[in-house]
Amino acid sequence: MAVAQTKQSAHTAQGLLPSADLAANQTSPSEFSKEQELQALRQMLLIRRFEEKAGQMYGMGLIGGFCHLYIGQEAVVVGMKLAMRDSDQMITGYRDHGHMLACGMDPKGVMAELTGRRGGYSRGKGGSMHMFSLEKKFYGGHGIVGAQVPLGTGLAFANKYRGTNDVCLTYFGDGAANQGQVYESFNMAELWKLPVVYVIENNRYAMGTSVERSSAQPDFSKRGSSFNIPGSQVDGMDVRAVKAAADQAVAWCRTGKGPIILEMMTYRYRGHSMSDPAKYRSKEEVDKVRTEHDPIEQVRRRLLDKKWASEDDLKKIDAAVRTLVNEASEFATHDAEPDPAELYTDVYH
């Protein structure tokens, strides 16, 4: 389509991060301490290895239905989480495994839910897209594109109603950002000054449709402008940039200024779901992001460059993460399926 081709993408592989424009209005990443770098590395590695394992298990038929992997986007949720306090809430769509792990949910319980076992977070009734942990303030896990946006706005409403000063981080993708209910939510959130950070994870493709082919205003940070909601674009592949932007956004909400939008420029390496061969983009495009912008590799490089860790140290971290993930996979493979009597439970209290 001629029109789409002539449109300048803010987010091409060359200009993925950050464009000159973007650099001007975004927070420059403040340096992490050694501890922060190591924590971010462990968290991101856990998500990556978990997702790789989930992909394998899907291929083995142990996981059914849809399975949307988060590989490539790890810095977003890990950086955001670093700015949150325990009582803040988080809610997202169906690409949710990373969010749950970042919230501190047990990888065994998450993986067992993927395999539909009784030890899963939803006792095997929810699956990949529908998991919750009230303890960790994770409110799902929602399968309908955009539906979590009013829900997250409602969680923020509850914070304001109760005067808790907590913030709800509401995640959605570039595809959901075109949903009508998102704008209904923006309107109410600003009208009522609700403490909600809208984190738009722009991974460039709504399933197979690129941002350029789906979005009249491809700069999603501006999508709140007609509601007077401020927004900024953030290098979502750099965990430090994410953390810095998140700090500012959370402070904005906590001081009663209302909602704020963070557009995370990110990229998913895998297809939309396991059944998506991702023919809508070139291998070169994917490889370029992987080699030049990988969020985990960036942290590894810094740790090595600053001599905060040796290759050996990093191998040990990776090994520890793999052990965790293998335990989760073992548990999820051998845990029993739900008792048939569970069919009729949990539908009415």
């Binding site: 919750f132 009013p150 509850a158 109603y161 109410m188 949990d346």
Partner: protein
């Protein structure tokens, strides 16, 4: 000939109103379009315009008069050259000529009045009638409240609108987590005045006007419920809840199950449901069957003030999402409500409103008005109908229906919703499964006709169920 100014109707369902204020006094010149008075109902305020040029000759109803019936002459306008003496002729009921001169809104009310014989309840509201003997009455049979009400409890007549308001206010006093949100619920005092006074008592923090964005605010309400609050979300009418259907079903109804029981969604969605009057296809339909199809939702549809109060209080306390289906035409109907500090009814229990041995009639909400009038008619022909008010559609009280059918052997269901896949179809199937051997005739359904609701008064009447259809069905299954 002096021109009469008649009490106008603000809506097709308005029967009477208050004459709040005269803006002109006797002897003032008026011309067409001048605002001469203000009238109000519990729902709205409206200006009365002069319909003719002349002089305001006589004020027939002083300001501050309450409950003036629609179409009552309230003033006389004298044409040039006429004097007050002419008014002696003018105090009669409105002549045909004077009606033709009324504003359009009044003409509509007058013209749409159904033929004199046996008007339907929905239509009765439009019938010009003197205030005191208003034709729109609550269902005729006994609507005495639950048997468990202590002996000697005072019964207070109350409209369904007041009962619903009181239920919300009582629950909001009891539990700070309960709040109300919706379009026009706060400053406007409710599009149908059901939330009247709540803003004054509870403040803007707990009585919240929303933008006209049903999809969004239904989701916001559910989100607040995820956090443990107990929202009451008012839809101005359930027609507009279609915009929110995804949130209602995918987010409200399913989350508890999808979370393995971890997350509750304790929320009430309420508002008027079912055919209204003369508003045509998009604003006039019954969603009873839609919501009662959904696992995870409870669905309540009361027919009288006591049930409305007791069941709304129960709904607000219930840990599940509840669809509370009210009815615009019933809002103004009065019936006795027990004066108790905390009148809460069990969800999921039907009530035998009128015992009988010959045929069972099951209805709910507005359907009860047809059912009870039909039972009166049938009694004249020595058919004793047992009328069951289902009250809760989901979970459905099959036992009460089945027990009744075991006694009568015959069943008629009444609903304003469409026949295919309707609630009546569900009841028929259950009775077939659980009381097949007791049936002496096929179960018969009296329903809204399977067409979008027409606007024309005669077609609308045909599209709705009627008392005559219920009588006919009951006689048919009784082989009479």
């Amino acid at each position: 000939m002096p021109t009469e100014v008649l009490m106008p109707a603000l809506s097709p369902t308005m029967e009477k109103g208050n004459l709040a204020k005269w803006l002109k006094k006797e002897g003032d010149p008026v011309k067409s379009g001048d605002v001469i008075a203000e009238i109000e109902t519990d729902k709205a305020t409206m200006e009365v315009e002069a319909v003719d040029e002349g002089t305001l000759g006589k004020i027939l109803v002083p300001e501050g008069t309450n409950d003036v019936a629609v179409n009552t002459p309230i003033a006389m306008i004298l044409a040039e050259g006429e004097d007050a003496a002419a008014l002696k002729d003018g105090k009669k009921a409105p002549s045909k000529q004077s009606q033709a001169e009324q504003p359009a809104s009044q003409q509509k009310g007058a013209d749409s009045a159904p033929p004199a014989e046996k008007p339907e309840p929905a239509k009765k509201a439009q019938t010009p009638a003197p205030a005191k003997t208003g034709t729109a009455k609550p269902p005729s049979a006994d609507i005495t409240p639950e048997p468990e009400v202590p002996e000697g409890t005072e019964l207070v007549p109350m409209t369904m609108r007041e009962a619903l308001r009181d239920a919300m206010a009582e629950e909001m006093r009891r539990d700070p987590d309960v709040f109300v949100m919706g379009e026009e619920v706060a400053e406007y005092q409710g599009a149908y005045k059901v939330t009247q006074g709540l803003l004054d008592e509870f403040g803007a923090q707990r009585v919240i006007d929303t933008p006209i964005t049903e999809h969004g605010f239904a989701g916001v309400g559910i989100g607040a419920a995820l956090a443990g609050l107990k929202p009451i979300v008012e839809f101005m009418t359930f027609n507009f809840a279609m915009q929110a259907m995804d949130q209602l079903i995918n987010s409200a109804a399913k989350t508890q199950y999808m979370s393995g029981g971890q997350v509750r969604v304790a929320i009430v969605f309420r508002g008027p449901n079912g055919p209204a009057s003369r508003v045509a296809a998009q604003h006039s339909q019954d969603y009873s069957a839609w919501y009662s199809h959904i696992p995870g939702l409870k669905v309540i549809a009361p027919s009288n003030a006591a049930d409305a109060k007791g069941l709304l209080k129960a709904a607000i306390r219930d840990p599940n999402p509840v669809m509370f289906l009210e009815n615009e035409i019933l809002y103004g109907h009065s019936s006795p409500v027990p004066k108790l500090d905390d009148y809460v009814l069990p969800i999921g229990r039907a009530r035998i409103v009128r015992p009988g041995k010959d045929v069972t009639i099951v209805a709910w909400s507005m359907g009860m008005t047809y059912a009870l009038k039909a039972a009166d008619e049938l009694a004249k022909e020595n058919i004793e109908a047992e009328v069951i008010d289902l009250r809760t559609l989901k979970p459905m009280d099959s036992d009460t229906i089945v027990e009744s059918v075991k006694k009568t052997g015959r069943l008629v269901t009444v609903e304003e919703g469409w026949k295919q896949s309707g609630v009546g179809a569900e009841i028929a199937a259950r009775v077939m499964e659980d009381a097949f051997d007791y049936l002496d005739a096929p179960v018969t359904r009296v329903c809204g006709k399977d067409v979008p609701m027409p606007y024309a008064a005669n077609l609308e009447k045909l599209a709705l169920p009627s008392v005559a259809e219920v009588v006919e069905a009951a006689k048919a299954v009784s082989y009479r």
